[in-house]
């Protein structure tokens, strides 16, 4: 029950605070438009009625939490999951390219890290380029990737996934370089006394030592992958996906839709990070990790 007191209570308190601030801001931000409406309709509502109206606009500047919650609930649970209004359907579209991009990115990151750790030339030449790659604004690169790939006939999932790859390989590469270099000197000396070959040292020492680093960096990478997938949907006129929902909501001023798509995206991100965390803990346990 300690976890209840230590984690749930503080987190819930913050959440409550956020909701309160959100409601206050919703009233404040929606009030001018509501006053305008009321004046034109020659209405003079009481304060309570006025506040109620600011929280029930169809296209509010800032939707109230309950409006987002209702919209999210309807579009998640009450729609057929094949409908393109279903958040589950849209989340799945984004998720599939996220996962593909994440898999590519993790593999690429590991390959780059192995190269950097084992080839001195790569160590000197690659790292600056890898860091430089992440300073380029992805929002600018994404449309070009989509356009160029479309020109060579690659459309659909792959281009979006590649944008996820672009964002997710970086944390994995950096984390794995650190992980593969993490063995202590005595652990390496030990291998030397056994006259172990470089590949034996790699598989029996460097790889197992890097596993905790891999999972830590994969948590960052999977969240970055989701961002990549959503960004990839924005410039492509994608018809489905969280990014497409955000864009459509912005076109038609469906602010409640935007916010509930945002919530859907956050839920997916939280689930992904949690899953990677759980996988990491299971692997750690299987490798004899001390229970925390």
């Amino acid at each position: 029950m300690d976890s209840f007191r230590d984690k749930i209570v503080p987190v819930t308190s913050i959440l409550l605070g956020v909701v309160v601030v959100w409601y206050v801001m919703a009233v404040v931000l929606n009030a001018p438009f509501q006053r305008d409406l009321d004046r034109r309709a020659n209405l003079t509502p009481g304060i309570v009625e006025f506040i109620g109206k600011t929280l029930a606009q169809p296209k509010p500047t800032l939707p109230a939490p309950h409006q987002v919650a209702v919209n999210f609930f309807e579009n998640t649970f009450l729609r057929s999951i094949t409908s393109n209004r279903s958040l589950v359907y849209n989340a799945w579209v984004t998720l599939s390219s996220t996962l593909l991009g994440f898999a590519f990115g993790t593999a690429l990151g590991i390959v780059i890290a192995v190269g950097i750790v084992h080839v001195t030339t790569l160590d000197r030449s690659m790292m600056p380029w890898i860091i430089a790659s992440q300073t380029i604004p992805i929002l600018a690169v994404a449309p070009m990737i989509i356009v160029v790939l479309a020109a060579v006939g690659i459309t659909g999932l792959i281009p979006k996934a590649l944008i996820s790859t672009y964002l997710s390989f970086f944390p994995v590469a950096v984390g794995m370089v650190k992980g593969l270099r993490s063995p202590e000197l005595t652990h390496l000396d030990l291998m030397h006394t056994y006259n172990a070959s470089p590949s034996q040292t790699f598989w029996k020492l460097r790889v197992p030592a890097s596993v905790p680093f891999l999972f830590t960096s994969m948590k960052v990478a999977v969240a970055a992958s989701l961002v990549g997938a959503i960004v990839g949907e924005l410039p492509t006129g994608a018809v489905a996906g969280i990014g497409a929902k955000l864009l459509a909501g912005a076109y038609y001023s469906q602010t409640i839709d935007i916010w509930s798509a945002l919530v859907a995206g956050s839920v997916v991100a939280a689930l992904l990070v949690m899953l990677v965390g759980i996988a990491g803990r299971l692997v750690d346990r299987a490798m004899g990790g001390r229970p925390a």
Binding site: H187, L190, Y194, N195
Partner: protein, 263 residues
């Protein structure tokens, strides 16, 4: 080789100078040394006297910069490639993701032994260090003394005739240390290995060794060599006998002569 005890380690005019940012540091200078088969040789001296460096040179973990050294009649590198020695570090250096038996199996896997042969050797060496029953435990589940015993088992597993031990009990408390000293002597007697043992404890050196090499710092060199007159069978309370105390006094004199007690 001829003679009763062919040299396992033989060094002459051995020197090693490290290049550091503060200029060259002479870690070893003019070390002459012969260690015969079956000997238990301790290297004792204050920190910086080069005792660990000397052990690392024997193990081919450091290269000497002058003089000559041979291990089993070969260069240290050749000896290492033939897995001539087991090395025990000051820290147990067990791989935390491997169980005790998999840690002991590590050198055997690297040498490409069959599964059955591995299992037999793991059983035998864990028996030897009294760790039977802990095969499936992970290192963190064992006490410091047990971890160090596991690392000794790992060094014994591939049956090298030479055991190099670098302050293996330095991090343990005195009670555990006494116990492990006793066990190590027993193990040495049973296996007839040659042991090179680095320590900074005078009682430990005297209790264990057939020969004590006293070293002194700046530059690291051998300042005295003391043959032990103690019998091979040594109960723990031999440490209160006048003979033991006399040897200990000689070691202390050797250290003093090498200015090891100077500031």
């Amino acid at each position: 080789m001829t003679g009763a005890s062919p040299a396992v380690v033989s060094a002459s005019k051995l020197g090693l100078t490290f290049q550091t940012n503060d200029g060259p540091v002479q870690a070893l200078s003019n070390v002459d040394l012969t260690i015969g088969k079956g000997e238990f040789v301790s290297f004792i001296g204050p920190s910086g006297c080069g005792k660990t460096t000397l052990l690392r040179v024997i193990a081919d973990l450091e290269k000497p910069t002058s003089g000559a050294i041979s291990v089993n009649g070969m260069t240290p590198e050749q000896a290492r490639q033939r897995r001539a020695y087991g090395y025990v570090f000051q820290a147990a250096a067990l791989y935390p993701w491997r169980t005790i038996e998999r840690n002991v199996a590590l050198p055997l896997e690297i040498m490409g032994l069959s599964r059955a042969e591995q299992a037999a050797r793991i059983k035998r060496t864990l028996d030897l260090v009294n760790l039977s029953g802990f095969e499936k435990k992970y290192p963190w589940q064992l006490s410091g003394g047990m971890q160090q015993r596991a690392s000794i088992a790992r060094a014994l597993a591939f049956d090298a005739d030479l055991l190099l031990m670098d302050e293996p009990f330095g991090a343990l408390d005195e009670i555990v240390r006494d116990h492990l000293n006793e066990q190590l002597l027993e193990l040495w007697e049973r296996t007839n290995k040659t042991i090179c043992f680095v320590t900074h404890s005078i009682p430990e050196a005297v209790y264990l060794s057939t020969r004590i090499i006293v070293m002194s710092p700046r530059p690291g060199r051998v300042s005295d060599v003391i043959e032990s007159t103690l019998p091979k069978k040594r109960p723990l309370d031999i440490r209160e006998t006048p003979e033991f105390l006399a040897i200990a006094a000689r070691v202390r004199d050797g250290l003093r002569a090498g200015h090891s007690y100077d500031d």
